[in-house]
Structure formats: structure tokens, C-alpha cells
Symmetry: C2
Subunit: 291 residues, 2 copies
């Protein structure tokens, strides 16, 4: 079905390699709407039923040979890796087709050597075969946070101060390649994201508020998510979604702020409706001007 | 009993205002051993029975008039505030004796105005009456971490790298006056202390290891505690104790590192025995040379 759309973009055909979550489907919808020629490749055991219905092919971890054959035969020039991976593939699952085995030395060398993250290494594997790996910022800008007030509610002066404080904290953490999120309440940074991730950090804030370690009159404080300086935004974009809003609300925060143009608002309508309803602002800041 | 010890220090008589925990008693023991002339003032509802037995007087929150009278009559020149406060005094408990009421405008002004922490404000209240407020570093150096390997076990090269990484993280956090602790495992900072405190941060690391979000072969990684640049070390010294060691062990860490000379090893014998027994190193670093 997707192949029937005429090529209207000035870029070549793009392959969407789709993991789990709602995001791959949203990206596919954007490409369809924009008339961008594309092929969807569903990762077996990860892609949603919705995505699998639009997929041209479904592949498992050991089918890298088939993957490259598909890309070549379908004339794909660009690749977008999108969605999550819930099940870590074990080593055996790579002992698949001949194309995988033939590339195994190269794959292992790429995956084992160097200091890069796993995803950056995976990108390298595609690039070495001559493919361009792109990100959501290149093909589906509609899904990104815009600058300024995004939802219905406005941040107060105090909220903007908390935002700047949390942003400064994420910047310092980012330089050390630690987390990408921080929470400030009432002029004080109260939580910093490490290996636990944003959701767990917000749950912690909720619990700290419950026992009085975080205090404020009414909702106050801001969650800031901001990309790390060395983060590869093609495969790892800071993101917020409905769950982020729910947890920020449970933590008693006044709102959520992300880097405009460099952060994803997942399930945008649902996310913003929830924020509007729960009274939280959603804000896209420009980190250079902090406005 | 304490008053019977002859004055051997070149400083004047010191008043120990004792909250809860094991620390006040350890400080009193140090002063007794060093022959430093002192008086112990137990905070009612906080000081341990052990401390109350050595105390010259026991006072509640509303007895600030009696406190100052005691300090004056006993010729105390210096004050050491030591131990924790578990029960936040409510406003009513300050409506106590006449000396408290008379000072109330000054007390309220000190407590409400400015950006300083509550303890810094309390220090100001004593200083304005002519008393010198000192810290453990001034009177009981024996309780502080020494430089280098403190327990039985030695940090590996990898542990020292993790230590430097976590130290750098605490330094950056400290500049923003956030937490004073961080954990690095396998070349990656995995947890940063915010409002939750060190123990809760270590519990988080334990849980993240249980679900595989922190991985290592065997024990690995280091907890670093380091004072913030603006921290008043007279009343707020980074501290580790037996519980820190237990939690660091539960989190699968290889050891614990603190700033030599600027951190307290509470219940030293118990803490070091526990570390020795559980296989954790305890290390006092010099943050200037990072050695």
C-alpha cells in the first residue's frame, strides 16, 4: 500500500524499520500524508499490529541478509530506525541467514569496538553499506515540539525560573553524558535523571512530595527534558507523551518543558489534551536564548 | 561529669547542642578524651539517652531564653550543633520562655529573610549574640575520613575511574547546590542525588541492578559523597555510616569514596568492619589532586 504513493519528496525512497510503541505508526502516517515514498519493515515480536498491516516485510534479528536484500531490491536510499525494542536479542538469534553470517565479523567488530552507544554502532552498520540513516527531525517534523507555549496553559514567572534551573542542570549532566531530564521546584533542583529514566524519576518526585521532602503551595515546578550534546538525535530523541504528563501531574508539577525542534511529543493530541485537562503547561524552549 | 575535666585546649569552653543519632555521643567522647572543656545541652525529644546522661541541661524549642542564660552562666564561648532533628518544631513550640519571645522578631527575621539554608540562619542567630559556631572539623578531627584507603580493601583501576567520574558529577551538581552524592558503575554515572538523599539513591541503584538497568560482572562501581562548594561544613558535613555500606553493598558497588578531611565516618569501627566484611573499599580522596 505504501509503495503505491507516488514519490513527491526530493529525497529517495525511505525504509522505516519499526520497533514497538505508537510512534512508528505516527511516523508512517506523516510520510503518507506528506506523500513521501517509503517501505515499512516490521521488527518481528516488536512492531504493533497496526504497523505490521502497513509493513512490506517482517524480519527477525537473524535476518540481516534478507534485510539488506530487501533494501536493495526496493531501491531504499535512506533508513529511519523508530520505536522501542523491549526484548534484547540474544546472540543466538543473530545466527540466522547467510547475509547475517557473512557480515558477522563486521557486525561484531562494530558492536564490540569503540565507545559509541549500541544504536550509534547500528547506524554505522547501515552507513558502511552505503545507506543514509535519518531521524524524525528529517522526515516528520510535525511530531516535534514547537517553540513557546504548546498546550493551553501558560508557565508563570516562577515556573520559568524553575525551567531555567532544571535546564542548567540537564546541561551539566549532558556534558558528562548522564541523564537528559531534571526537575526543579520552587527554585531548587530536586531530581536528576540517571539510569532509572524519566518516568521513574517522576515517580520519585511524586513519592518525595507525598512525604514532604518536596513542598509547594499547589502545583509548582517543572520537568525539563533536553538532549545531551553527544546524543545522536537520529535514533534517540528526548520524548514526552501522555504518561509523562500523568506522572508530572502526580508529582505536583506545574508543567513540562522540552527543547523545541529537538524533542518528540508522542501521541501529540492525547498528550496535549491530558496536559490541558490536568492544568499542566507544555513548553518548547530554545536553549540558546532560554526563551 | 563533663565539667570536671580540666581545660586543656587553647580554645574556650564549648557547648555541644545535641540532636539525635549516634554522632553527638561520639563527639562528646572525643572531647572528653582530648580534655576539651565542654557542656552538653540535650535537645528534648531528640538527644539519645546516652547523651542525656552526659548533658548538663535538657532544653526544648521554646527555651531559647534559658539556652542563652545557660551559655552565659557557664562561660561557653563556642557552640557545636550536632546530630539530627527528626521532628520539625511547629511555630507554637517557639512560644516559650521570655528570652525566646524577646528575640522572636530577630529569630523570625533571620529565619524568613535571605537565601541561606535554615541551619545557616540558626548559626547567624548564635553569631549575632557573640558566640563562635564551630564544626566537627574544628574539634573532633578523629571522626573524619583520612586520605587514601581507609578500610581493608583497595579500589581497582576501574574503581578509581568510576570514582573520578562520580566526583566530577557531584562537582557539577554542587555548583548548582543540588545533591552531594553520585554513583558511577563501569564508566557511566547511573545515579545522582537530589532531594531524596543518599540512602534512597542507593536503594534505587539496588533496584536498577535487580532489573538489569545497571550491569556488571561482580561488584563494581563507586558511591562518591562530596561537599557542595557553598555547604556550611560546620553544620552539614557529608557523612557515611554502617547503613551507607550496607546499601552500597546491596547495590552491588565495589566501594565508597568521600572527601578526606571534609566527610564524617559515623560509627567508624562498625562502618569499617562492615565494609571489610562485605568486601567494599572505603576511600578518602583529595579532590584537588583526585588521588
Amino acid at each position: 500500500m505504501s509503495g503505491a504513493v507516488p514519490q513527491m519528496s526530493d529525497s529517495g525512497r525511505i525504509a522505516i524499520i519499526a520497533g514497538n510503541g505508537a510512534l512508528p505508526d505516527q511516523v508512517v502516517a506523516c510520510l503518507q500524508q506528506g506523500g513521501r515514498d517509503h517501505r515499512v519493515i516490521a521488527i518481528r515480536g516488536e512492531a504493533s499490529d497496526q504497523v505490521r498491516r502497513t509493513a512490506a516485510i517482517e524480519l527477525g534479528w537473524g535476518e540481516i541478509g534478507r534485510l539488506y536484500k530487501f533494501l536493495e531490491r526496493n531501491g531504499c536510499e535512506e533508513i529511519l530506525l523508530i520505536g522501542g525494542i523491549s526484548k534484547r536479542p540474544d546472540a543466538m538469534s543473530f545466527l540466522g541467514d547467510f547475509g547475517t553470517l557473512r557480515r558477522l565479523p563486521k557486525i561484531l567488530k562494530a558492536l564490540i569496538g569503540g565507545d559509541d552507544s549500541l544504536l550509534t554502532k547500528v547506524i554505522g552498520l547501515f552507513e558502511v553499506e552505503g545507506y543514509r540513516v535519518v531521524g524524525i527531525r528529517d522526515v516528520a517534523k510535525e511530531l516535534l515540539a514547537t517553540q513557546g507555549i504548546i498546550g493551553k496553559h501558560k508557565p508563570s514567572e516562577a515556573d520559568l525560573r524553575d525551567m531555567k534551573l532544571a535546564l542548567e542542570a540537564t546541561r551539566r549532566l549532558g556534558e558528562l553524558d548522564i541523564g537528559q531530564a531534571a526537575v526543579a521546584v520552587g527554585g531548587r533542583v530536586v531530581a536528576l535523571e540517571g539510569a532509572e529514566g524519566t518516568d521513574a524519576m517522576l515517580e520519585r518526585c511524586r513519592d518525595l512530595r507525598a512525604i514532604g521532602r518536596i513542598r509547594s503551595r499547589g502545583a509548582a515546578g517543572v520537568l525539563v527534558k533536553s538532549a545531551k550534546p553527544n546524543q545522536d538525535l537520529r535514533v534517540d530523541l528526548p520524548a514526552i507523551g501522555p504518561r509523562t504528563i500523568e506522572l508530572a501531574h502526580a508529582a505536583g508539577l506545574a508543567g513540562v518543558a522540552v527543547h523545541a525542534g529537538n524533542a518528540l511529543v508522542s501521541e501529540q493530541e492525547l498528550t496535549l489534551n491530558k496536559a490541558d485537562e490536568l492544568g499542566l503547561f507544555v513548553y518548547g524552549f530554545d536553549p540558546d536564548t532560554q526563551a
